[in-house]
């Protein structure tokens, strides 16, 4: 599955929550081959300032419509400019890049933990896991079948950021929400929900997480204590996106590894948090 550079047509680019935008791009090759956890590296505009591309997780794909979706938060100059790009315009995209989530061979209980905009890649993952469960091809011991489940733990600042809950429910996921201000669900960090979930979890359980570093550190600790396999999706400042410049490294037990090609998804136990 090779990486391509394509001019993706902007199908839509709309604010779906305060400062959060959903960007739909026409990118047939990427839509066909992308795996959950992979990302695209977008050139915001044709000029040399801002100079570098910006990396964004693939949020959804619709291969039948040749469509790739990105969910992004405006945090600085690049994302601000991106939010001003209009439908019909083209964006220079590299992708799909990176190593995504490893889908477990045997089905079980999958706990997805999203913090803030970290939800972006986990929707793609949830959809993939649920589809695989739905088509019944999953390798699973019979007595375990009823324990196959996707539990989506979603953390956000407040209720207006809890976007895809109804869709997740309609796909058959169990959803739990935590907000910082208590405007919806549990008041407090999403890791509280994970700790609670641990009391109920079954034997073959997997955790997948994406969000701020502090949250990921805590998720990794909980998973480590419970000896549950856990994959986390990391971010780092990035230049080339293809493994050439060695800019986007994170510290792991096997030395510095590149987020862009060795990740962005890493086994939680591998990563050394500061």
């Amino acid at each position: 599955m090779s990486v391509v550079q394509k001019q993706g047509k902007i199908l839509s680019n709309l604010e779906v929550a305060p400062s959060i935008f959903l960007l739909n791009l026409g990118l047939p090759q990427v839509a066909e081959t992308a795996q959950p956890g992979q990302f695209v590296h977008l050139r915001i505009g044709p000029l040399s300032d801002p100079l570098l591309r910006r990396p964004f997780s693939i949020h959804r794909t619709k291969p039948e419509e040749a469509k790739v979706s990105i969910l992004y938060q405006v945090v600085g100059r690049g994302t601000k400019l991106l939010s001003q790009r209009c439908s019909g315009e083209k964006l220079d995209c590299l992708g799909p890049l990176g190593r995504g989530f490893a889908i477990p061979k045997v089905a079980g209980q999958f706990i997805l933990v999203a913090g803030g905009i970290g939800i972006a890649p986990l929707i793609f993952l949830a959809e993939t896991l649920l589809r695989k469960m739905g088509n019944g091809k999953w390798e699973v011991e019979k007595e375990k079948r009823k324990k196959m489940e996707v539990v989506f733990l979603m953390g956000a600042a407040s209720t207006e950021y809890i976007l895809p809950e109804s869709e997740l429910l309609s796909w058959g996921a169990a959803v739990e929400v935590a907000t910082d201000d208590g405007s919806k669900g549990h008041r407090g960090p999403v890791t509280d929900l994970l700790t609670r979930q641990m009391d109920r979890s079954v034997a073959s359980c997997h955790i997948f997480a994406c969000g701020p570093e502090g949250m990921l550190k805590e998720v990794a600790q909980i998973a480590g204590q419970q000896k549950i396999p856990c994959q986390i999706c990391l971010e780092q400042r990035m230049a080339c996106g293809v493994g050439a410049c060695l800019g986007c490294v994170v510290k792991t037990r096997s030395g510095y590894r590149r987020v862009c090609v060795d990740g962005p998804v890493f086994p939680a136990g591998e990563v050394i948090f500061e």
Binding site: V4, S48, L51, Q236, V242, G247, V249, Y256
Partner: protein, 306 residues
């Protein structure tokens, strides 16, 4: 008629005067999905040191106005792994391969060069006496004419491969350093490496790079690079390799007119992997429009009122 873009520098024959700059194109294979490497004039590898190096802690890069800072810290696999694992893959490309060499002592430079000397597929060595990101990583060697000459002179003794001295712009008199490396036996001189820089997060009151300082590259440094190429090309007989902020055919032409025989593209590859292809195309078009048969004809033809 198709213009002839091929050039000969330092005894290396290149299809065209466009090379990938060290540290921005990995070991060649990273971009293979996106760039037809066989169409490049050549590529320069990441700096190779005697032992593998882990490099600096992250964050290692940060964007600045029309540029970026990097502090990679010469992370590399080390010369032995390079020869065993990377070189066989590089050798498969039909393009010139130039290996960038760094060290923390003169003895280290010499040993790396000695080991690379016998290795098949290497067309030339670029001696990096200009890395700003490691205390003993070359920057010091390139800041003083005597030391610069010593590194080139000593490495010259252990190889017959073409040697290119890569200079740092972080000096008061680049011409004296260029001349010293020429006299010491450099077959060509490449410049510039990155300019020392830093940037601060005012909220946290901390530098944005873990290494505090880094090397500035990209369009922001092009005017500085150009003037240094101009000065050096006017002062030495060996060919000059122009580097710094080249993103378009027009940028490359500025360097060629100013006196560079070939150019290298670094940060431009990050911005657009097709950058070098577009530059090659741009040079070809320029030659066609101006009726230039051979690209080398325009080198150093800058007209300056005296």
């Amino acid at each position: 008629m198709r213009p002839d873009l091929s050039v000969n520098i330092a005894g290396i024959r290149l299809k065209n005067p466009v090379l990938a700059a060290s540290g921005t194109f990995g070991y060649g294979t990273e971009y293979a999905d996106l760039v037809d490497i066989n169409r490049l004039g050549g590529l320069v590898t990441k700096a190779i040191t005697l032992e593998p190096r882990e490099g600096s802690p992250p964050p290692r890069t940060v964007e600045t106005a029309a540029g970026m800072l990097n502090a990679i810290g010469l992370a590399n696999v080390g010369v032995d792994a390079f020869i065993k694992e990377k070189m066989p893959l590089l050798h498969k490309f039909n393009t010139a391969v130039i290996v960038n060499v760094a060290g923390s002592t003169i003895a280290e430079y010499v040993e790396v060069v000695r080991r690379l000397d016998g290795c098949q597929g290497i067309d030339g060595l670029e001696i990096n006496i200009s890395c700003p990101n490691v205390k003993q990583g070359g920057f010091l060697f390139g800041s003083d004419p005597q030391t610069a000459a010593k590194v080139i002179g000593e490495t010259r003794k252990v190889t017959s491969l073409p040697l290119i001295a890569k200079l740092t712009p972080n000096v008061t008199d680049i011409v004296s350093i260029a001349r010293a490396t020429e006299e010491a036996g450099a077959d060509a001189i490449s410049l510039i490496n990155t300019l020392l820089g830093m940037t601060i997060n005012v909220e946290t009151k901390r530098p944005k790079l873990a290494n505090v300082t880094g090397g500035l590259s990209g369009p922001a440094i092009k005017p500085v690079a150009l003037v240094m190429v101009w000065k050096v090309a006017g002062a030495v007989k060996v060919p000059v390799v122009g580097i710094g902020g080249i993103l378009s055919g027009k940028d490359a032409l500025e360097f060629l007119l100013t006196g560079a025989s070939v150019v290298q593209v670094g940060t431009g590859n990050f911005v657009d992997p097709q950058c070098m292809m577009k530059i090659i195309h741009g040079l070809e078009q320029y030659c066609q429009e101006k009726g230039i048969a051979k690209i080398s004809e325009i080198v150093g033809t800058l007209e300056v009122e005296k």
